[in-house]
Symmetry: C2
Subunit: 316 residues, 2 copies
């Protein structure tokens, strides 16, 4: 396909936190906004200090809005911590650090939800506030919490395991809800998609929670769409977070090939990092070798162009 | 009574916001902490931006804790407004201004309530954080919202009328809940009280909501206790807030005498300001003329001593 054709593709990106947000940002720098929809994991949303906190939605919004903290990849640039410092002094729970600017997002969201707004609607409103043009959609308007069953048999809410316990307890399995339903906006976006890009997010706790939401997996299996995944594993390591550690604990080799095998027949193409020499995949899976480490805005955009060109070829 | 005897009185102070907090602070400067309980109006509590906000409890806590804003009488000294500025920018409701330090109180409280703590317990914890020794008790652990019926027949939640509408809509009547129940801690404090001091708070929207909570009024009517009220009206004006305006609207003369008449036989003594010349009251009501304008800490303490001496004489 020509570059002009690529820009006319309808693209949906499935994204978790930091890695997903970076690729979504790259895509947003390339595609016309009306041709890009980012569907975001809400499995790690939780209620804390009375507020509804959506860590992956926030990371995607702050990244697309250009207000993300460039050091951490999550949270806001120029953040201050006055309120949480005082919460700690007053004996409140301060293990999940909420900056003063970040708090404004949670307060505005919780206010909207309390007033009966859907998470989709309040996210649209927040995106407008951050000047974001592409559609950013929560996978579901109902809570669909991801739980972590540890090797000791304990079941932990995701953020308790991820943040409070610093993802140290070994994982036996990820427990996903059985009754999660996609929003109408998500279903329409996927029905209209030429290409679905699975961002380099954790397959087990970022992407699988999205695929688990009915009927998202079935919509990805529909023939016309090309589904392309980008590996979150580079040279056997996760760029950030627990993906590689979880793979080992759950009996997999932490490798790009193992990630591709997890997605199986759901994907038509797989993008792996040039550091992963000797990558092989099942017959019928198209492969693209690329530099997937998005260290800056230029790298995000370059990877987005390469992934789009690769996916465009698969569409035909 | 001698000064020594006065300090052995068990004193309960019924308080609303700023005026109540100031007299409570004066009493706290005079009495041993174990002899003072402040029972605070929670009728103007509300849920806002996902948080449970208790304006009168907060004003009392901040004042007794020495962290109140000395300019406004409510809110915290040295406050900043970073979060609310961003809430406003994001299109969230910013008519009720919550400072960054103040927010920590609401977050910690809401977290405790969400975890099943009572308002009494979470208030005790917050008071410990502010280094407050006397007991500060919410009148009830259940919501007991005060509503304002305006002259146009509209029913407004208290804070909507008070803050958002800047108490401008004329008041036809104050609507109080029929099923509000006092906590065990409140009942025990009143049963043990030698003296009950009704602080110079708004009789209609600060004190009456407390008296309306079963069985607080009945406990005040019990014979052994001396009940003394301090006038919130000085020279026909409220020091702060809508008391005088409400009295006019509800067909009363805005005067100290009218406040005393409102409390009727519930009170044994009434403290009015020296600016209210010509104060008269019904037979059997003891009167004390004092300088009731508490402009600083020394004035709070002086008024507290005068009120205690007056009440002590009524106990016998």
């Amino acid at each position: 396909m020509t570059a002009y054709d690529l820009l006319s593709l309808n693209v949906v990106c499935l994204a978790g936190g930091v890695g997903g947000a970076k690729l979504a940002d790259g895509l947003a720098r390339v595609l016309p906004p009306e041709n890009l929809t980012v569907i975001v994991n809400t499995g790690d949303d939780f209620r804390h200090l009375g507020l509804t906190i959506c860590p992956d939605l926030d990371t995607v919004m702050y990244t697309l809005g250009g207000v993300a903290n460039p050091e951490t990849g999550w949270g806001r640039a120029g953040e201050s911590w006055r309120t949480m410092g005082e919460v700690g002094r007053l004996g409140g729970p301060d293990w999940f650090n909420l900056g003063d600017l970040d708090l404004a997002t949670h307060l505005t969201r919780t206010d909207g939800l309390d007033a009966g707004e859907t998470l989709t609607a309040v996210t649209r409103r927040l995106c407008a506030g951050f000047g974001i043009s592409p559609a950013v959609l929560p996978m579901s308007d109902q809570p669909a919490p991801t739980l972590i069953e540890t090797m000791t048999g304990e079941i932990l809410p995701f953020q308790v395991w991820f943040v409070r316990e610093r993802w140290q307890p070994a994982v036996r399995r990820v427990v996903l809800p059985e009754d999660a339903r996609a929003t109408t906006a998500v279903i329409r976006a996927l029905e209209a998609a030429d290409v679905v890009i699975i961002a380099p997010s954790n397959p087990f706790v970022s992407i699988e929670p999205i695929l688990n939401v009915y009927p998202i997996r079935a919509l990805l299996e529909d023939v016309p769409r090309a589904v392309v995944a980008v590996s979150p594993i580079i040279a056997g390591q996760a760029v950030k977070g627990p993906a590689a550690k979880m793979m080992s604990e759950m009996g997999m080799e932490p490798s790009a090939a193992a990630v591709a095998a997890c997605y199986g027949h759901l994907i038509d193409g797989f993008v792996y990092d040039s550091r992963d020499t000797g990558m092989t995949a099942e017959d019928g899976l198209a492969l693209l070798c690329a530099d997937t480490l998005m260290t800056g805005a230029a790298e995000r955009e370059r990877l987005a162009r390469e992934v789009l060109a690769f996916a465009g070829n698969l569409v035909g």
